[in-house]
């Protein structure tokens, strides 16, 4: 029983925290924010690794897990790289104007 209780606590706190954090993000950065959260959602890779790497995994498990790792890694890698690529473009005046 206690497991779900803990899970609920963590979910409740995280959801509140998420709301407060996101509401503060400058509209200037909403697009990079979307790709950052894409990258973070690649955390599903944790579940995928557990499925794929398990000792007693059936072939079905391994295949599905393998696909899941591939998909999450794609998200992870492209998410972070794109976010960084976008953010690199945001510059303050200074270097620009003489």
């Amino acid at each position: 029983m206690s497991d779900y209780e803990v899970a609920l606590w963590v979910f409740m706190l995280s959801a509140f925290l998420g709301f407060e954090l996101i509401r503060r993000v400058s509209p200037l950065l909403h697009t990079p924010l979307m790709s950052l959260t894409n990258a973070i959602s690649a955390i599903a890779v944790v579940g995928a690794i557990l499925i794929t790497g398990a000792r007693d995994a059936s072939t079905l498990s391994r295949v599905l897990g393998f696909l899941a790792v591939v998909l999450s890694t794609t998200n992870l890698v492209s998410g972070y790289l794109i976010t960084d690529r976008m953010l690199k473009m945001f510059k303050k005046r200074g270097a620009e104007k003489k």
């Binding site: 899970a7 973070i40 995928a48 790497g53 992870l76």
Partner: protein, 460 residues
């Protein structure tokens, strides 16, 4: 000993994700945020690989390799205008991964009770988000028809499919050993995702994508409940709230409700209203005339919109901005929260063209400036400057906050024709006394203006 290190790594990973999002609140800390987010992901992956349950590494490393081989090129070769599609694609990947993991877990142990509830939610949300995101991708990439497709009784069909899927899910929760039900459940979930998107127009996709982001996050959280993994729960919840809030922001900026976006079939209805219009006279002008007007102004506000993105005119606009400021003219960009096709779209494009971000002014800040503005130069924007939003009560965009370009001394509009924008309605701004239409592709028209101004400068 080892046992107490992994939980610590997960906690640190969660804290990193939180900091990563927190630091996105300002451009000066945002890149630090990305680095912290990467560290968090590294901690999470290493912490998981080292767990004693994980013994089989070959498949995993092959998968890492394949995933990176797909992800890196996407990241480097994707043009900035394709961000909405990329986002949809990424939700599809993430949601499919969650659904596949859920499926594998189901077949592995046929779990009961709360774990099964969590798995069913994970799989339902995962599969429907997968197909819905692929559909959204298709519409944005214009592989699929972008206009909403409706038929009588559509909502009934959709709700029916959803109810069936939910029914199968509940049956599976009650008796998980009914394995024949599982493929049906999965298929219905996939089908519902498709049906959900069919009646929604291409231009509403950004809002839908943000909502799908929220579902994908919830699916990851559900996975966390099933695996009893707090890191998954936290990351999923952060992701879910992010998508939800962005969707709310978009809806509010369009003055529409969620249900109107999801079931309103926006973009079909208004077509009727258009035919009644009589041809009204407009004034148009050449690049030379436009250049002259700009040159004699003291304060110019440039308003980019979706057309600017389509034409990729951001670099030319940057040149225009530089030339005008060099001549002592006060130039800035006015950014409407839903200009373009995703939140922050214009900001990213202007940043790509090296426009410093303190020249990008938000709506609430720039609106009081318009009466003091000599020229409002509208580049491929339409709905976001449509005064009907403010003045006409039964317009489909009534109540949507707009940029008050109509208050400027002179208004110049670069677009290719008189055809309407996303909302499919006429724009009275174009017919005003003080408005000059500059017909042409945004990029080439701005280029001509720039050439003209350079010629004048050389002449001096």
């Amino acid at each position: 000993m080892m046992h107490s290190i992994f939980p610590a790594m997960y906690i640190l990973a969660a804290a990193s994700f939180i900091l990563a999002i927190k630091w996105m609140n300002s451009p000066s800390t945002a890149r630090r945020g990305v680095i912290v987010g990467e560290i968090g992901m590294l901690l999470a992956v290493i912490g998981t690989l080292l767990r004693f349950e994980v013994v089989n590494y070959e498949w995993i490393f092959v998968a890492f390799f394949v995933g990176s081989a797909i992800g890196v090129p996407i990241a480097y070769y994707m043009p900035m205008t394709a961000v909405p599609q990329r986002t949809a694609f990424s939700h599809a990947c993430g949601a499919l991964a969650a659904a596949l993991i859920g499926t594998a877990e189901y077949y592995r142990q046929l779990p009961h009770g709360v774990v099964m509830i969590a798995l069913v939610l994970e799989i339902l949300l995962g599969f429907l988000t997968f197909t819905a995101s692929m559909m959204a991708y298709g519409k944005l990439q214009e592989i699929l028809p972008t206009r909403p497709i409706t038929y009588p009784g559509q909502n009934f069909v959709n709700l029916g499919v959803l109810a069936l899927a939910a029914g199968c899910g509940i049956a599976l929760i009650l008796s998980p050993e009914k394995m024949w039900l599982f493929p049906i459940f999965a298929a219905l979930s996939l089908l519902f995702g498709v049906l959900l998107i069919i009646p929604i127009g291409g231009a509403d996709m950004p809002t839908v994508i943000a909502l799908l982001n929220s579902y994908a996050g919830l699916s990851a959280s559900a996975m966390g409940f099933a695996f009893n993994n707090k890191l998954l729960i936290t990351a999923g919840a952060l992701d879910g709230s992010s998508g939800f809030i962005l969707a709310v922001i978009m809806c509010r900026a369009m003055n529409r409700s969620f249900s109107n976006v999801l079931f309103g079939a926006f973009g079909t209805v208004q077509a009727g209203a258009q035919k009644e219009t009589v041809a009204r006279p407009v004034r148009s002008a050449s690049p030379e005339e436009a250049a002259e007007i700009l040159d004699s102004a003291r304060k110019v506000v440039i308003i980019p919109g979706y057309g600017m993105a389509v034409a990729q005119a951001q670099h030319k606009l940057r040149e225009l901005h530089d030339i005008l400021s060099k001549r002592g003219i006060d130039v800035c960009f006015a950014i409407h929260p839903v200009a373009g096709r995703m939140p922050g779209h214009m900001n990213v494009l202007m940043a790509e063209a090296d426009v410093p971000y303190d020249r990008l002014i938000e709506m609430d800040e720039i609106n009081p400036e318009f009466p003091r503005t000599d020229v409002a130069l509208i580049v491929g924007a339409n709905d976001v400057v449509n005064p009907a939003a403010r003045l006409s009560k039964n317009s489909p965009i009534a109540g949507m906050p707009i940029l008050n370009a109509y208050e400027a001394q002179t208004v110049m509009v670069i677009k290719r024709s008189m055809s309407p924008g996303f909302a499919g309605i006429e724009n009275d701004l174009y017919y005003m006394e003080k408005t000059l239409m500059l017909f042409g592709d945004a990029k080439s028209f701005v280029a001509s203006i720039v050439k003209e101004l350079n010629a004048v400068a050389a002449g001096n």
